[in-house]
């Protein structure tokens, strides 16, 4: 646990100093909203379409963060430094997933209101609580699977390509859960809570992949 906090602290500090990932993710998300405005030729959207635009944008913005997650470790010797320390290796997975989760939360804190402002027809207010629940569960899946995929992809030659082509299919069920869970919330006078079925599926997906990642992560670190 101490190791997790140590690595997490270092990652956040590194992001704070370099500002390499998070600003790019946020800008990308907002630009994508603008692109959807023109691509769909709609001033406002609602319901399932809105949920789809929001979650797909977040997914692709997350891919940017996922691609960069381990680059500093690989290029600046972070893997070696970590492996030389007498600490539990799984701590790196937990720390990186937590860092990615926090990045996604910051991204959404900015991108979701921006989405409400730029594209969403109905007011965001009544949907907010349900949306937070769905996005939080989705973020866990994005963070866990993203960390795993990133750790695989960073050691390959074509890492910018391998990351997305493995990550996107693996994340598809999570995307379905997020989009379908958020859909009913974004209708004018829609339901206040997300459909329980999708919350359950997202939670199941989170738990299974968290355990799975924990089981296989050590193998990605050995040299």
């Amino acid at each position: 646990m101490k190791t997790v906090l140590t690595v997490l602290r270092k990652d956040l500090l590194l992001e704070l100093r370099g500002l390499e990932t998070l600003p790019a993710m946020i800008l990308f998300a907002i630009v994508t909203f603008v692109i959807f405005h023109f691509g769909l030729n709609r001033d406002t959207i609602d319901g399932q379409l809105a949920a789809g635009v929001l979650t797909v944008t977040l997914l692709f913005a997350a891919m940017l963060g996922i691609n960069r997650l381990f680059v500093a470790e690989r290029e600046q010797g972070g893997f070696d430094a970590f492996l030389l320390a007498p600490v539990d290796r799984s701590a790196l997975l937990v720390a990186k997933a937590t860092a990615l989760f926090l990045f996604l939360v910051v991204l959404e804190v900015i991108a979701v209101p921006a989405f409400g402002l730029l594209l969403l027809g109905p007011s965001l207010g009544p949907a907010l609580a349900g949306l937070i629940a769905v996005l939080a569960l989705g973020d866990v899946a994005l963070a866990v699977i993203g960390t795993l995929v990133s750790a695989i992809a960073v050691q390959t030659r074509a890492r910018d390509l391998i990351g997305p082509i493995i990550g996107l299919p693996l994340l598809l069920p999570a995307l379905i859960g997020m989009a379908r869970g958020a859909g009913p919330l974004l209708v004018a006078h829609g339901s206040s809570g997300p459909p329980g079925k999708w919350v359950a599926i997202l939670a199941l997906y989170d738990v299974v992949f968290a355990l799975l990642s924990y089981a296989v992560f050590d193998f990605l670190l050995e040299d």
Partner: protein, 208 residues
């Protein structure tokens, strides 16, 4: 890429590894550091067989490789603080080693803005931070001027108290520090002997 290399290094002594670029010096150090797993053969560090017992060895060795293993966007103090936390070392130790290499004043600048010599000093700090009993030194004095060499000498020099495995681009300097010499040629041991028995011709052939 290593073959037929077998030798014992007694605790507290210094092994110099000689050989031209690509002979397998760095590979040997990475295997000893548990970062590479040997495909076959037996490697023991502190009597623990690698790679199976790697966890028993980690934390007791310090690696100083070509790569300083420091984050460029963090300052020297932050980098060392990170390593101190990972190794469970008190922060006073960070200040102690920073002072020892004369970096106390510049430890808050990002590593990417420092000259190579200063980065190498920080890398020395990182390698010895947790007081390792085995030091793996790959060209430890690279980029260091004579004054800096003087400064790091109590940390990684002959009197530092740790068992040392060191490589150097300068065979004469390495021989002067060694108790035992391993000559590597294309991943094979060309000779293993004490430094006074190494003849100039053999060294010359090694680097030819």
């Amino acid at each position: 890429m290593l073959r037929d290399v077998s030798l014992d290094v007694p605790a507290g002594s210094t092994l110099a590894v000689l050989g031209r670029n690509g002979a397998g010096k760095s590979t040997l150090l990475r295997i000893l550091a548990t970062l590479l797993r040997p495909h076959a053969g037996e490697v023991r560090v502190f009597g623990e067989a690698l790679p199976r017992r790697g966890f028993a060895v980690r934390g007791r060795l310090g690696l100083l490789a070509h790569d300083p293993l420091l984050y460029r966007d963090l300052s020297g103090r932050e980098n060392l603080g990170y390593h101190a936390r990972l190794h469970g070392v008190a922060f006073e130790r960070v200040e102690e080693v920073l002072e020892a290499v004369g970096m106390g004043g510049r430890a808050d600048e990002p590593v990417r803005t420092l000259s190579r010599g200063l980065v190498q000093r920080l890398a020395v700090c990182r390698a010895v931070l947790h007081g390792p009993a085995l030091l793996l030194l790959d060209e430890p004095l690279a980029n260091l001027d004579p004054a800096a060499t003087e400064l790091v000498s109590p940390l990684i020099g002959r009197g530092c108290g740790a068992t040392r495995v060191l490589t150097s681009h300068d065979p004469q300097a390495a021989l002067a520090e060694a108790d035992l010499v391993l000559g590597l040629e294309d991943g094979r041991a060309a000779f293993v002997t004490s430094p006074d028995k190494v003849d100039a011709a053999a060294v010359k052939r090694l680097y030819a």
